[in-house]
């Protein structure tokens, strides 16, 4: 059982979170803190338990033990957009909101993510990037104090992903929710987050502050040292010229 405490003013505080599936430990005693307005990236290989933590924070899955303090208004963006295909974009964003004042806020949010022109479109007609922007709008319109991002850029092409990085940063700067970004992309974490956590086999094995000023460049020398430590903590040797490629290779091996 997990004990939940919902406090809008406080950030996220997770203590001793455990979870096992069929006797296999997925999360072992995870402690995790996110200050209000802080942008935290959670890095790990596939199967390391990243998504399990995110789903527990979202209230989707129960944990076996531990306590979770999280703000009451939480919103999630998944890897797939998960828009209701039978609702137009505006109705998708407005889903579950109370009627009053909704219309204005929905349109405002759609404008913020650059989808004003697609408010009446069916989700099926949107591109991958547009769908994710609609999913972001659906999350943001709820004014979340905690925004949970589960590899939201994983299925996008490289150029679209870069645009989405800029968009997410801008939205975060405007609204300042606490953010937990689950990703296996070290560069993504370095570009976006205040802090990167490394999850290895269900335990948080590293906690790195990223202090470089935003907007950051991938080639920023300030990020170099952190990248090396993150990669080695993830079990990937540094020294390769293309760490991105190396890490994706190595992460795949780990899951076998």
């Amino acid at each position: 059982m997990t004990a939940w405490i919902e406090d809008p003013a406080a950030g996220v505080r997770v203590r001793g979170l455990r979870r096992a599936f069929d006797g296999r430990t997925v999360l072992g005693d995870v402690d995790l803190d996110i200050a209000p307005g802080e942008f935290v990236a959670l890095l790990g290989a596939s199967g390391s338990g990243k998504t399990t933590i995110l789903r527990a924070l979202a209230g989707l899955d129960p944990a076996d033990a531990g306590t979770i303090d999280a703000p009451p208004r939480r919103a999630v963006v998944f890897q797939e957009h998960r828009l209701m295909p039978w609702k137009r974009v505006r109705a998708n964003v407005a889903l579950g909101l109370d009627r009053e004042a909704v219309a204005a806020r929905v349109d405002e949010t759609l404008a913020e993510v650059g989808l004003s022109g697609h408010a009446n479109a069916w989700p099926k007609t949107l591109s991958g990037g547009e769908s994710q922007r609609a999913a972001l709008a659906r999350a943001l319109v709820r004014r979340p104090e905690l925004l949970l991002l589960d590899e939201p850029f994983g299925a996008l092409d490289a150029l679209t992903r870069m645009k989405m990085h800029d968009l997410v940063l801008r939205l975060w700067e405007n609204h300042r929710p606490a953010v937990l970004l689950v990703t296996h992309d070290v560069d993504e974490a370095l570009l976006l987050a205040d802090r990167a956590l490394v999850l290895v086999n269900g335990r948080i094995e590293g906690d790195y502050a990223i202090q470089a000023l935003r907007p950051r460049q991938r080639t920023d020398p300030d990020l170099e040292a952190t990248r090396d430590s993150l990669l080695s903590r993830l079990g990937v040797g540094s020294g390769s010229r293309d760490p991105r490629q190396l890490i994706s290779l190595s992460l795949e091996e780990r899951t076998l």
Partner: protein, 269 residues
Amino acid sequence: MNASGATRSRALPVQARARRRHLKRFRRLLGPLSLLAIWALVTGLGVVSSEDLPSPWHTLHTARELISDGQLPSAMLISVRRVIIGLTIGTVAGVGLAVLASLGQLGDDLIDSSMQLLRTLPILAMVPLIVIWFGIGETPKVFIVALATAIPIYLNLYSGIRGTDRKLLDAARTLELSRLQIIRHVILPGAMAPFLVGLRYAAGIAWLVLVVSEQINATSGLGYLIVNAQNFLRTDIVVVGLVVFGILGLLTDAGVRALERRVLAWRST
């Protein structure tokens, strides 16, 4: 249509696309038209005697007579009414049972097994029982149509609801939708496509069982018109009845398809 076909037709200018649509519609008419031609030919050449099969013109003539003396319109009205009432009751029952069965384990255990049992039963075999229960008035006809149509609606909607995308359900939960809102905004719209397949199927079955029950124990309706004509060896009236059934069946199907286009607009485009 395959992917390359879709791309090609999208690339065509609007006029060419319209022409292609007309061509397709014409080609689809070709089949029934040639059947009609064969019918005219075999009856006109005397290959088949007019007692066995009247010619199209003879049939048309009989149809006019039946319309002007009011027999056909009143029989049609009675049959259409029975189908509409029976199908409506069947749909409501099928939807209600499917929703109840798919939303909780108790409902599932109680309802689904019985419905699965009922579906293996040839409904028409129940006609004698239904006559014993309800006699020969309107009730038995409407009852059998309702019973026969509830089953395909139930089966399709039930599997549609069961097949709801778990990922969308998760998303709905993160949006803090209530149970009722989830049913309304996620589960039912997602099950709409299978439901409409069931409805289309049910509409076909409705006509089928109605005709049979009208031929067994009725004094009115299209099925009765046909059986009665058979007693007087009026093949022409029998054929008129068949053609009318065909037309009514097509109209019903077109109606459901129009509904499908409207309700499932999000799928195309």
